[in-house]
Subunit: 204 residues, 2 copies
DNA sequence: CACTCTATTGACGATTGTTCAATAACGCCA
DNA sequence: TGGCGTTATTGAACAATCGTCAATAGAGTG
């Protein structure tokens, strides 16, 4: 935990890439616990050891900064949960879910920033979030496997979306309070849920 | 839509109950589309035809007002989706889901205010939301029926929570874009999902 | 019609988002 | 080594919004 905690020392000059990365990392960290309107630019600047003005130099305003933070969290999630190696559809599904669960556990703050950002009303943020979830969902079904595992109907698309929401809720709840549910059991529940839900889809 | 739209006319004096109800209704309406930090007290006051100060007289600050709005939306949801009459567990389940779906359709704004409020970071708001969802979930299983339909284990509680999240996502998505999915099909999917998910719970 | 109670107001101070001209750190070249 | 230009960075000033409080006025009561 490197906390410069504001010393009125000499200004430190970084490259734009470094500075931007630092601010985004800090934003992810801070926005995991506070909501965006509870995070003042003052606090952010002090925590980063910079002036308020610099933040506006890199990101035009607070909204844009928040958007960049959420986008970074989404990209990080997509990148770190790399697509599983080819194999049986159910195997691939389980591997994807496993990497997703492990990511949320290891990177709780970043994931919270993403989820909370998505729900904070802004349309742009919701799009970023939806896109990330789409990427994750699409990975579960390879182009060839999709036709067989999940039919491409309106009902099916709805169910897959619902399954994604359920998965997110399960993982977040389990991460915070696992109770006596093991990681394996969680994976089993999520993985087995998808076929079970697909079987419920009415004929259309 | 009655929009007084600010006339500098004589002040209208209402009873505290009426005024409070008016402000909460207006809050539910306004917070359905904007997020809480995008809603200025100025706009709210002008829209209500009152001064800013009056809002602070009734609710101490903006957070408390938001909390009251969300709580009202939650109470409204719980009240209007009255518990279904006794009968078969699956029948009761379907009736509960139906009333829930119909409420969301008929009262989209209020429901959005509730959901968006819950996700906006504040811990109190999330508690209100969780409590409302618990009430709805509990209704699905009468005390006597619970033991038989859903076992009371950590895994089962997790699954029911996930099912709730899925239901919420399904109903919201369907309300906005029904596609060619009928109301009956949606009810069928949600209702049949719970037993299907329960069957997936690993032995613990 | 005066009088009391209290719902309501409007002006003021405090906090926070945003802008912009001035400043200083770093690389470069003589 | 020392001056110089580029530009990352600052801090003060401005704007908008949150929150406070003593003063005001509507409505019932005798």
């Amino acid at each position: 935990m490197t906390t410069p905690t504001s010393s009125t020392g000499p200004r430190t000059r970084l490259s734009p890439e470094e500075r931007r990365a630092q601010l985004l990392d800090l934003g992810v960290q801070l926005l995991a616990t506070r909501s965006v309107d509870e995070l003042s630019i003052d606090l952010l600047a002090e925590e980063a050891g910079i002036s308020r003005g610099l933040l506006y130099h890199y990101f035009g305003n607070k909204h844009a900064f928040h958007e960049a933070v959420v986008r970074r969290a989404a990209d990080d999630l997509i990148e770190q949960t790399a697509p599983p190696p080819g194999g049986e559809p159910l195997q691939r599904l389980r591997a994807s879910v496993a990497s997703y669960v492990d990511y949320v556990v290891a990177n709780h703050q970043g994931y919270l920033s993403l989820v909370k950002g998505a729900a904070s009303g802004n349309e742009t943020l919701r799009e970023i979030y939806d896109e990330a979830r789409s990427v994750l969902s699409e990975r579960m079904f390879l182009p060839d496997a999709r036709g067989s595992m999940v039919p491409d109907t309106a009902s099916a698309r709805l169910v897959v979306r619902g399954w994604s929401a359920m998965t997110e809720e399960l993982v977040l709840t389990w991460t915070v309070a696992p109770g006596d549910v093991t990681r394996e059991q969680l994976l089993e529940i999520i993985t087995a849920s998808l076929p079970a839900l697909v079987a419920v889809i009415p004929a259309g």
